[in-house]
Amino acid sequence: MTKDVVIVGGGVGGLLTANLLARKLLPGGARIHLVDATGMHVYQPGFLYVALGLANARWLARDTRSLLDRRVELVVDRVGGIDTEASRVHLEVGGSLPYDQLVIATGCTLDYDAIPHLREASYTFYSLPDAQRLREALRNFRGGTLVIGVAGLPYKCPPAPVEFAFLVDEFLRRRGLRDRTAIRFLSPLNRAFTIESASKLVAPIFAKRGIELDTFVNVESVDPERHELSSLEGETFKFDLAVLVPPHKGADVAITSGLAGPGGWLGVDRHTLRVTGAENVYALGDATDLPISKSGSTAHFEAPVVTEEIAAAIEGRSPDQVRSRYGGKVVCFLETGRRQATILSFDYDHPPVPPRPSLLWHAAKWAFNRAYWYTVPQGRGV
C-alpha cells in the first residue's frame, strides 16, 4: 500500500526534505505532500542586505513549485491542526491529509507583541517588510545614537546582529554620517558574540571601527516617548534609532496541537529529530527546541537525517546508522564589512575555529547567495 508523507512548511528544511525523499524513494513508493501557507520560498539571509540597500527584494523569493521535485504535490494552505492520534493534518481550507510519516518544519514566527511598543519604537530586519521599513529609516537617518540589540531568545541566525553592526558602519561612512553617529552594540552576553573564538575576532574590529560594545544587555522593554530601552539586567539606553531582533516563537499550530509548550518549540531527540511523545513525527530547522543555531544551515544538515529515517520506515528496513544520526553540524558565514567575512563550522562535539576575516570568505558568501537556488533546495552537496 502506498504510504503518505506529509511535510508541513516550505522553508529550507521542508523543501529540502521533500526533494530528497522524492529522489530517494522508488516511484510509487509514497505520496509526498508539501504544505506551505504561501507557496513562495524565501531566502531569509537576504533581508539583511535589503535593509542596507545592498539587494533587491525581488531576488529573495521564488515560487516553491519551481524549486520542488515534480513527484511532490504542493498544497498551498494553512495547517489548522495536527492530530497525532488520528495521524491527520487538518488544513484551513482544503480538508485534511492522512499521514504515515509527518515532518514539521514550521520555523519561527516573530512575536512583536511580547514587548509593548516594540513595533512603533524600533526597527528590525527579520522579515522582508521590516527590512524595507528599516531601509527607509536608514535613508532618512541624519545621525545620532544607533543601538543594535536583541529583544528575545532564541532568535534566528545568531551572527546577524553582529553583521548588521559592521555593514551599517560601512553604510554610514559611505553617506558621510559616521562621525555624527554613535553605534552601540548591545550584546546579550558578556562578549561581542556567543562563540568565544569568533568573539575574539569580532571585538577588535568593533573597537577599530568605533562600534561601542555594551555587554549583558537583554532588551526587555522599549519606551517610544523617551526613546529609551531597558534591559533584563536593569540598565537603560537612549537611542535615536534602535534596530532590535524581535522575540521569536514557534508556530501556533505546534502549540494548539499540544505538541509544543507555550514557546512553540518542538521537543525532539537531538540525533534522530523524532518529536518527543509522538509516533512517526519528525521536526527540523527552527521549529525544534534544540539548543543550537536557528538557521537555514541547521535545517540543511538535518534534512538528510529525517529523509533517511522516513525512507527506512517506508521501505521496511532499519535506518542507516550513520545517515540517520544528526551530529549537530552547522556552517555559516559571518560578514565583517569592508568586503571581508569569516566562516563558522561546528557540530555537537567540535567548536568552530573561525579563520581571520578575508575577502575570500566574503566572496564565498556572495557566491553562495547567488548559487543558493540551484544547490540547497535540490540537496546538492548534502
Partner: protein, 78 residues
Amino acid sequence: MPLPVQREIDARGSFCPGPLMELIRAVRGSEVGDLIAVLSKDPGSRTDIPAWLKKAGHDLVAMEDEVGYTRFVARKVR
C-alpha cells in the same frame, strides 16, 4: 544526588547560541523562585554563567562537576 529543578536544559554541544543564551532564555520563561539547571561542556560557562547571574540579580545555587560537563543550577530571584 543532583539537585531537583523545575527545568533542565541539556546545552552540551551548543556552541551557538551557547549554554548561557539557553539559560537566559529559560530564566525569562520561568517563575520567580524556580530552579533551572543547564548542562554545559563549554569551559567558558564557568565564568560566563556566574557573571550573568550576578549582573542580572539571580542566584547560582550549585555548580556540579560531572564527567565531561558541568551542571549549573540557578534560582530566578526577581
